[in-house]
């Protein structure tokens, strides 16, 4: 058999040029186009082929000619080239076969594989394991092996022979499962085919170019083509001045010799200028970005290699920020595509029609577009509904949305979603999915001329292919649960890659293995760290290094030699005038883990090693400086919002902080909590109030009841009615617990109420609305309850409090100045002398109540709280003892003052509050006054 002819091309020029020249040798252009169409060219990567074709086109163009390019394929493709395509199990099919087997077999027979029973032999368990076994099969197939072969090849001291024998058996069972359906395992077919490949139609010669580690199986294929007399040329770039007689640097197939390269010193002129230690991925990105922007048009002039994927995100963002177009030939995972997100949301909805699923789905742009109308309006309503009713499910949400005409838009949107779900549930896969998507995108027209649309189309087609493959697979392996099918489909789509068009003059961000084919004179390689270059496998559940060696699979040794060669080749064609190579070595990963320099960088004479080590292990300069805190800007809120009325609670807000008062009552700054999972304090209070109010109404049957049990029954009845109306029959668990809490509090309240009534207290008013005029502003409020004692005629006003701890009215309204507090800063109206000391108002609720009642009930009225706290024992009425006219007067002065300040728009300066007790804290880093620019209306 004619062995392949190995041609070592000088690595003093870029490989791609050398290969082009070699392919076009003897062609002048006179004789017509450069016709290589009868050549089968093996190149290591997609990108390599692309580069070669470009170079050939350029070469021909220089002679006003064009090219019939060679057929370029990757080594792994060799083993399936022109192979018959029928009867081979698709990815999905073999996955399902494995899954079926793993769930069916009796594990007792495979105890060396499964020493323990798995947690649960569910589909998702099986599918995860199936994927692992598939990966395993693929790896073994690289050297034409199947699981069954491992046991023998493992050698006699092989400690896991039995385990592998059993794996082999499992594999056989899986093959059988496929065979039943007239299918055969793709790897098996590949291996068989490789042993006796089809003759290469229309190929007169094979050229293997710059492929330092073709898969062993690919080499086998070549061997058998060779043995049939197919001429094979192997092109590799290397030192042409290699000392004769010295150990050969490559084998016949152009593979770097492990021993030779592991021992060969790396020649890298002025090493310490070329190699840079960088603190972290961001720092590496920085260097590349600023270098790229220093070149005016980096495209083609600057090549970038990224050996550590962690550098990519910062790099891409950095380049974008610097306005340098970039191109990542590796493509992007479809997982990041909008369609994938939409589909996942649909899948969730199918799995569980929970409210969470709905709101996720509703925030998919395509959904909003489909639903039409005002998307912001719709989402606002959705949040409103959530905050109001905390519906657990779509159904519940629809019920509530139905109650309120203001929500009609939302109601119809939810209806539409419900319909989508129905059609996703009944109707066979994938017809139902296609149907739903076709509906969602009904109105869309994708204009292929627009990058954005073209991208969408590409993804959609990928999805189409996924469905097609899955459809066939499912016809052969029926009976999967909908959720499982979805999981498979989404995973399949997500594993797919998308390739952008390369933008004009873009910098290519290439993986390590691409670089050999890059001819950019200036090359920067980031991430030259151990474990990245070369990547090392240390330990494995199935194929540890020791076994890989025995099986002739890729080993760490092999990788090291390959990368040693690659690095040297990259350097060689860029030495001196020819260009330059810069290597960036990360000191820590993005997560802050320490990294080590690539072992390749220590390929030097022993004499130089200590310096090398000293250099590469010197501490890198600190990542990024720790700048002193600084304010980017001051906030400039609209100052012109009017305030037309005050609520009783507003006074508390103003006394707490006039500026926050403005934000809250003039700008109505109210946050939405998308994570709200249970009732907040106010919801809870309202529930209890509702029941208590009903108890006190004029028409209440128990208004004069003194029997705690009956009152209790009444209150709980009211509570449940309200709760059901508001939160449905099946609220989420936390609400159940909260209702339980409300019940306990009301039960205790019933006892207290019975007691009060027995003492002669009659509920005179409940939820009594009033309006006062203060400082030219209407002040509105609602009094929970006014009691009149039928025996003494005494009147008192009570406010229900459902806070966890009982509240003492006096403590809730006035306080003494704090230790070294600057009282001058407080609004003067809030300060007053009580007996010997000064006191400060911080709430005016009860005094305002009394004021409002004065007209009708006179001034001889006491006030207090009806506490319904956590600890049942402390439930009861707590009156404001010693409340007198003086206090009332002081309070009203304060109220007047506040009202006037509001009309005079005195909202400055703000109070400085501890951030954690300040709902506005987020606006005021390092101080409220400093954070805001309030120079309006001559204030401050």
């Amino acid at each position: 058999m004619p062995s392949p002819r190995l041609h070592v091309l000088s690595w003093n020029q870029p490989l791609v040029h050398a290969v082009t020249a070699w392919l076009a040798r003897g062609w002048t252009g006179e004789e017509g186009p450069l016709d290589l169409s009868d050549t089968l060219l093996i190149a290591p990567t997609r990108q390599a082929g692309r580069r070669l074709r470009e170079a050939l086109a350029g070469h021909a163009a220089a002679r006003n000619q064009a090219v019939f390019p060679p057929r370029v394929i990757m080594p792994e493709a060799l083993a399936t080239l022109d192979a018959p395509a029928v009867g081979i199990a698709s990815q999905a099919e073999s996955l399902l076969a494995w899954t079926e087997v793993l769930r069916a077999v009796d594990l007792e027979a495979f105890r060396d594989v499964f020493p323990l029973d798995p947690p649960a032999r569910t589909f998702s368990w099986a599918v995860r394991l199936a994927r692992e076994f598939q990966r395993l099969q693929t790896t073994l197939a690289e050297n034409g092996l199947r699981m069954a072969d491992v046991a023998e090849r493992g050698g006699e001291d092989f400690p896991e022979a039995e385990r592998w024998r059993q794996l082999g058996e499992l594999e056989a069972v899986c093959d059988a499962a496929l065979a039943e359906r007239g299918l055969s395992d793709s790897q098996a077919v590949k291996i068989a085919f490789a042993a006796n490949p089809a003759p290469l139609a229309g190929v007169r010669r094979v050229v293997v170019a710059g492929s330092p580690d073709p898969l062993p199986i690919a080499v086998r294929v070549l061997v058998s083509h060779g043995s049939r007399g197919m001429p094979i040329d192997v092109l590799v770039s290397g030192p042409i001045d290699a000392p004769a007689g010295g150990a050969p640097l490559f084998d016949l197939w152009g593979r770097p010799d492990a021993v030779a390269w592991a021992g060969r010193a790396l020649v890298l002129a002025d090493f310490e200028q070329r190699v840079r230690l960088c603190a972290d991925p961001a720092a590496q990105a920085d260097i590349i970005v600023s270098c790229a922007s220093e070149y005016r048009s980096p495209g083609g002039r600057l090549g970038v290699g990224v050996a550590d994927a962690e550098v990519l995100p910062s790099l891409e963002n950095g380049l974008a920020r610097a306005g340098v177009p970039a191109f990542n030939p590796e493509g992007r995972s479809m997982r990041a595509e909008a369609l994938h997100t939409l589909l996942s949301a649909l899948a969730e909805l199918v799995k569980e029609p929970s409210f969470a699923a709905v709101s996720a789905l509703l925030r998919c742009p395509d959904m909003l577009r489909w639903l039409g109308g005002s998307s912001s309006g719709l989402l606002a309503l959705l949040d409103e509904l959530h905050a109001e009713h905390l519906p657990p499910t779509l159904a519940a949400a629809r019920r509530h949305a139905g109650d309120d005409p203001a929500w009609s838009d939302l109601a119809s949107a939810l209806g539409a979603i419900a319909e989508l779900r129905d059609s996703l549930i009944d109707g066979g896969f994938p017809a139902n999915v296609s149907g739903v998507l076709a509906e969602i995108f009904r109105k869309r027209r994708f204009n292929l001329a627009l990058a954005e649309d073209a991208r969408a189309v590409e993804v959609a087609q990928a999805w189409g292919d996924v469905l097609t493959e899955l459809e066939t697979a499912l016809s052969r392996f029926p009976g999967l649960a909908a959720a499982d099918v979805w999981e498979l489909a989404l995973r399949a789509l997500g594993d797919g890659q998308r390739f952008d068009e390369k933008p004009e003059g873009a910098v290519e961000l290439q993986g390590w293995l691409e670089l050999l084919w890059d001819d950019a004179p200036h090359l920067i390689v980031a991430g030259l760290n151990d474990g990245r270059v070369p990547d090392a496998v240390v330990g494995d559940a199935f194929l540890p290094e020791a076994l890989r060696e025995r099986l002739g699979l890729k080993t760490n040794g092999g990788r090291f030699a390959r990368d040693a060669y690659l690095l040297q080749a990259l350097a060689a064609c860029r030495t001196g005038e020819r260009g330059r190579l810069d290597l960036l070595v990360g000191k820590t990963s993005a997560g802050g883990d320490p990294l080590r320099p690539s072992r390749l960088l220590f390929l030097c004479a022993d004499a130089d090693l200590p310096e090398r080590v000293a250099f590469l292990f010197k501490p890198a300069e600190a990542a990024r400086p720790n700048h002193a805190w600084r304010r980017a800007w001051k906030l400039a809120p609209r100052a012109d919002e009017k305030i037309k009325r005050l609520s009783v609670t507003a006074f508390r807000d103003y006394l707490k902080c006039p500026f926050r008062f403005y934000l809250k009552h003039a700008l109505h700054m109210q946050a939405v909590d998308p994570h709200k999972a249970e009732l907040d304090a106010m919801d809870f209070g309202n529930l209890c109030h509702g029941a208590l109010e009903a108890m006190g109404r004029a028409d209440s049957p128990v208004r004069d009841c003194t029997d705690a049990a009956v009152l209790r029954g009444f209150l709980l009845g009211e509570l449940d009615r309200a709760a059901r109306a508001h939160y449905g029959d099946r609220p989420v668990l936390p609400i159940m617990v909260q209702l339980e809490s409300a019940r306990q509090r009301l039960s205790k309240a019933a006892e207290v109420q019975a007691q009060l009534r027995a003492e002669g207290w009659v509920i005179d008013r409940t939820e009594w609305k009033f309006e006062l005029a203060l400082g030219g502003l209407p002040v509105r409020g609602k009094i929970d309850r006014i009691d009149r004692n039928e025996l003494t005629g005494e009147v008192r006003v009570l406010d229900y409090k459902t806070s966890d701890k009982p509240v003492n009215p006096a403590d809730a309204h006035v306080r003494a100045p704090r230790r070294n507090e600057d009282v001058e800063a407080l609004p003067t109206c809030a300060r007053f002398m009580a007996g010997d000391g000064e006191m400060i108002w911080f709430d005016l609720q009860l005094p305002l109540y009394l004021e409002a009642m004065a007209a009708e009930f006179g001034h001889a009225v006491t006030c207090g709280y009806f506490n319904l706290p956590k600890a049942a024992g402390e439930t009861g009425v707590s009156l404001w003892s010693g409340y007198d006219a003086a206090l009332q007067e002081a309070a009203m002065t304060c109220a007047q003052g506040v009202a006037e300040s509001v009309t005079e728009r005195r909202f400055w300066p703000p109070a400085e509050l501890p951030a954690d007790y300040d709902e506005f804290g987020g606006l005021f880093p390092q101080g409220a006054a400093l954070s805001v620019d309030w120079a309006r209306e001559g204030e401050a």
Partner: protein
């Protein structure tokens, strides 16, 4: 290799633990151990990294410098070694770098588990859940737990609610979600260590020989009345009577588990105080210094009531504890199914998988043992085969922080090493039991001795003991003070619980400074309150001006809040560059990033007026307007679209770029924050989530450990300062809980000697546990441990200082009895006639104690060139001369000259399948045809190629169609054809890659090509009425084909005819050439 004994090293602060480790490592190498057989484990990855770097640097130094070589050689007891030997070791290290087992315990465990997923009951490989991931999972689990999709509550849920009520009895809970979160934080670890309910609130376990209180839960009916009767009849003074009445009233209101009102406490304390007499039926109780004799039936009644209260409380606590367990079990069950089984594990999970006794959900009792040699019998996991490594030598750092769980995993492997008959393997562990401040994380300093005793009990002298008491960090002044404070056994015994003091004193050795020439100062000052202490701190720093002198300085406090507060104070009041070295919330601590987050929130939740106004009052408002997104809904649509298409990082980056002009030119800080926000977004994008609310929450909790930069004053917690050293250390926050109070953690957990959880109990209030022997013993022990840890904390604090140490505390009231740290200082430092006057440089102030050189820092040169903040300068890489020519074309594929419109229906509808694949198939079919009609061999090729019937039918039709005849018929005798012929060509500097579907050309008499037709097959569904347009739709593409064909055939363009073959309609559309020859 030569045998090398096992060693335990008890180190002290700054005594060079790492140095000892590296020396050991080098020694092992010198003895011939292959590097990859040495396992060296630390706690932080940072430490591991530094450790590795130091080994290499050490070897490198020795390899080039004979003196250094000699020194190290001597040090490791191999004087013969020279540079050449160290070079050999260096080479060995470097070339086996990738195989070294030198990292964190967590990392090592994860590596083992990865190699044995099925053996450990995992379903395949797993991913490690990082902090954020874990938080998300918890939310997901809770949502699942709370969901009410089914009809009624399912069994589990009902049980859960019931349990929750029991667990929170008395303080009945209004909020479940929030409380549960707490619950899990507090108790999950305990639960996972004792999942078995039997240990929870089980009286039989807590009181093996019964509890007096529970036994005698006597019936106290009527007792109240009896007691009242006695009290009212006994003619007591009003005050005493009042006590009794309040007591009885409170007793009615009180329920077990609830807070204990003082009225009850008062009387009950008296009661248990005179318990014996009460039982005898004749007791004298003293209320408010007035004696009163209680009658026999009074005694009986009081006894009954006391028993009722105690019994009731204990029973309730037992119930609550069981409740807590059930709640946790409910949560854990869901979590286990949803998260762990899906292959998402925390490091804690990973470790538990390997713990032999973990009764955990995976491996259960069958958890296999790790082993590195011999056969895989009895479920031993052969670590060495699957990890490609044989582990002969073990180096363990910071051993005092090792938890019992971690040890239980390593034990088997290390046993093999320690018991290796030929002594070819070894164990070396080092740590400082005086710095054991991680008990709350499971750190178990007692292991240190236990292991030593264990192995030496088997064979005396198995493990040697070494000590490192020389500080390479601190100067003499510091060391002297440390010795005085922590070396005073008498004082410690007086102030600490006995067990704690004994533990400490047993291991204490006086320290010595290895840097006697290093002068410095130690002083203890008084500051009445936080304000004053902060002021003193500032004053000291201003006087010393450490940064100007290039000194490092740290202010150590006890909490993150204190750190942030103090840092602000120093910046505000003193303008000092103080940084709270606590984790920085970079996304929310400044106006820029908070506004951007508000923008996202406002877009995704348009009802959020807060976010909206925030955006409006920030410069973002204008940016939104300028982007034309002011109108209703525009922003929502734009941002959601952008986020779903490109992720958060790119979206945010785009907006940040809009804001760039707003920032002051020199505002490096905000730009840094902007960038950190983008980085956070990149991290989040990694999860693939597009949920804005989720992202905002992530950003709000996202923290960055601040970069260690010189030229700042670092304010941090003592915990964080562990392992660091500073020239100047100020300790203004030594107040707080006295040395003997126990950390308030909800549950009392009693462990056996082998650290198994014996029982768990939600401890009752003081009164109760004090008066129950079992509980009292438990609490006492717990308090002793807490006290010990507290002492460690202060030890760590004081030993951070290299040259100067300033302690600032409240004055200690002479007759105060509270045994806190200030008091300890008083009894040790304060003992001598305090100078009273303190001088620090030019500043003179009050102090209690001062020692050393008041002008110590004068000697230190003021460094003029400051460590400048290197803001992004150029790449620093030299450019390349433009001389070197580069060929690059803009690339393009003619068929890729995208044209046309696809409808959603066509794209997604049921017919979609045809679209893409069908087209290519038809192309393939037609390419198989050279000339003429369908021949049998064409058919066979088609079938062989696996083309579907539809496709074949279409191809047949095309071949049959009269309209298309010219395509297939050989024009003349000399006719030739290209089929699916690829070409590469450069036209107008554009590189074009194309494929001719079919080109037919003829030659003239002279054999030169005379004319050609390019046929391009269009297989997409085209309606007859569209035929008009498709001509120009593809005009561009065909123009290119024409030029390419002309070039390739050596024709003028005029002689190339281009035709579209519309297969759907069987029509040919000729596209005329619009040019002149």
């Amino acid at each position: 290799m030569k045998p090398l004994g096992h060693k335990m090293i008890l180190a002290s602060a700054g005594s060079g633990k790492t140095y000892a480790l590296t020396s050991r490592f080098v020694q092992l190498l010198a003895y011939g151990a292959p590097p990859e057989r040495i396992v060296a484990l630390t706690f932080t990855r940072k430490a591991a990294g530094e450790f590795f770097d130091e080994i290499l640097n050490k070897l490198a130094k020795a390899a080039r410098d004979p003196q250094e070589a000699a020194r190290i050689a001597a040090e490791i007891g191999e004087p013969a070694l020279g540079p050449a030997d160290f070079l050999r070791m260096l080479r060995a290290m470097v070339s086996s770098m990738h195989r070294l087992s030198l990292g964190t315990l967590d990392g090592f465990f994860a590596r083992v588990v990865r190699a044995f997923p099925l053996e450990l009951g995992l379903g395949g490989d797993f991913e490690i859940l990082q902090e954020h991931g874990a938080r998300l999972e918890r939310q997901r689990v809770l949502r699942q737990l709370f969901a009410r999709t089914g009809g009624e509550l399912d069994e589990a849920q009902r049980e859960f609610v019931e349990a929750f009520k029991r667990a929170t009895f008395g303080s009945e809970e209004k909020r479940l979600a929030a409380r549960l979160d707490q619950f899990i934080d507090l108790h999950q670890e305990v639960y996972l260590n004792a999942p078995d309910g039997d240990a929870w609130g089980n009286p039989a376990r807590i009181w093996p020989q019964k509890s007096a209180w529970l036994e005698a839960a006597a019936d106290a009916r009527g007792a109240g009345a009896v007691l009242r009767a006695w009290a009212e009849g006994a003619g007591l003074a009003e005050k005493q009577l009042g006590r009794w009445q309040e007591f009885l009233a409170a007793l009615d209101a009180w329920a077990p588990g609830a807070m204990l009102p003082r009225e009850l406490v008062y009387v009950l304390e008296k009661a248990v105080g005179a318990w014996a007499d009460l039982l005898k039926g004749d007791a004298v109780l003293e209320f408010d210094r007035k004696k009163q004799t209680v009658s026999a039936d009074g005694c009986a009644a009081l006894v009954a009531l006391t028993r009722k209260v105690f019994g009731g409380e204990l029973v309730r606590r037992l119930e609550m504890t069981q409740g807590i367990h059930t709640v946790l079990r409910g949560y854990e069950t869901v979590y286990h199914d949803l998260v762990r089984r899906a292959g998402k594990l925390t490091f804690a999970d990973v470790q538990r998988l390997l713990m032999p006794e973990a009764g955990h959900g995976f491996a259960g009792e069958r958890a296999p043992r790790l082993a590195s040699g011999g056969a895989a019998e009895d479920g031993r996991l052969l670590v060495d085969w699957r990890l490609d490594a044989k582990f002969d030598h073990w180096l363990l750092d910071e051993f005092q922080d090792t938890s019992h769980g971690q040890w239980s995993v390593l034990r088997n492997l290390i046993d093999e090493a320690v018991q290796d008959p030929e002594g070819r393997r070894s164990l070396f562990y080092v740590g400082d039991v005086k710095q054991a401040i991680y008990a709350w994380r499971g750190g178990d300093p007692r292991l240190f001795r236990e292991i030593y005793d264990h192995y030496n009990a088997v064979a005396a002298g198995t493990i040697g003991e070494g000590r490192l008491d020389q500080s390479w960090r601190s100067g003499p002044a510091i060391v002297a003070a440390v010795n005085r404070v922590f070396g005073d056994a008498a004082v410690l015994s007086r102030l600490l619980p006995a067990p704690a003091a004994e533990r400490w004193n047993r291991e204490w050795r006086d320290h010595a400074s290895a840097r006697p020439q290093l002068n410095g100062q130690v002083a203890w000052l008084h500051g009445a309150d936080d304000e004053e202490r902060a002021a003193l701190t500032l004053r000291l720093l201003q006087e010393i001006d450490p940064l100007e002198r290039g000194l490092t300085v740290a202010v150590l406090v006890q909490s993150n809040d204190a750190a942030t507060g103090l840092a602000d104070y120093l910046r505000r009041e003193g303008g000092l560059p103080a940084v709270a070295a606590s984790d920085l919330k970079v996304c929310t601590d400044n106006p820029l990033t908070t506004a951007v987050l508000a923008l996202l929130q406002a877009a995704a939740h348009p009802g959020d007026r807060f976010a909206w106004e925030h955006v409006r009052m920030a410069p973002l408002g204008d940016a939104v307007e300028q982007a034309g997104l002011g109108r209703d809904g525009a922003l929502t649509e734009a941002i959601l679209k952008q986020v779903h298409a490109d992720g958060f990082a790119r979206t945010i980056d785009a907006w940040l770029r809009k804001l760039e002009p707003v920032l002051a030119a020199d505002d490096a800080f905000s730009r840094e924050r902007a960038r950190q926000l983008t980085e956070a977004a990149q991290l989040f994008d990694g999860t693939g989530s597009r949920d804005v609310a989720e992202f905002v929450r992530f950003a709000e909790t996202h923290v960055v450990r601040d970069a260690e930069t010189a030229a700042v004053i670092r304010v941090m917690t003592i915990h964080k300062s562990k392992g660091l050293g500073f020239d100047v250390v100020v300790l203004p926050d030594l107040e707080g809980n006295s040395l003997s109070t126990r950390r308030r953690e909800g549950l009392g957990v009693q462990r056996t000697a082998s650290r198994q959880v014996e029982w768990v109990l939600d401890l009752p209030p003081k009164l109760f546990h004090e008066n129950d022997p079992v509980l009292a013993a438990h609490v006492e022990a717990a308090e002793a441990d807490a006290a010990y840890e507290k002492l460690c904390l202060f030890y760590v604090a004081m030993t951070r200082a290299k040259r100067a140490l300033y302690l600032i505390t409240k004055p200690v009231a002479p007759k105060s009895v509270s045994a806190n740290f200030p008091r300890m200082l008083a009894e040790t430092l304060g003992a001598d006639p305090a100078s009273g006057k303190l001088r620090v440089g030019r500043w003179a102030g009050e102090c209690v104690f001062s020692e050393g050189d008041a002008d110590w820092f004068d000697g230190v040169a003021v460094v003029d060139e400051r460590v400048e903040a290197a803001t992004s300068r150029g790449s620093g890489l030299e450019m390349l001369p433009a001389a070197i020519p580069v060929v690059r074309f803009s690339a393009r594929t003619p068929s890729g000259t995208k044209a046309g419109v696809v409808t959603g229906a066509a794209l997604f509808g049921a017919t979609r399948t045809s679209a893409a694949s069908f087209g290519t198939a038809v192309h393939a079919a037609l390419a198989a045809v050279e000339w003429g009609a369908v021949t049998t061999d064409v058919l066979t090729t088609w079938q062989a190629a696996g083309l579907g019937p539809l496709v074949i039918a279409e191809a047949r039709a095309c071949l049959g169609a009269s309209e298309l005849a010219e395509v297939w018929v050989m024009p003349a005798a000399s006719g030739e054809v290209w089929r699916e012929r690829a070409f590469e060509i450069v036209l107008d500097g554009e590189w074009i890659t194309g494929v001719f579907d079919r080109v037919v050309f003829t030659r003239n008499a002279r054999g030169r090509i005379s004319g050609a037709t390019v046929y391009d097959f269009k297989t997409d569904r085209i309606e007859p009425d569209e035929v008009g347009q498709i001509g120009q739709r593809y005009a561009g593409q065909l123009a290119i084909y024409r030029r390419a064909a002309a070039c390739l055939l050596g024709l003028t363009e005029g002689r190339v005819r281009c035709a579209l073959v519309v297969t759907a309609l069987k029509r040919i559309v000729t596209v005329a050439w619009s040019g002149a020859d």
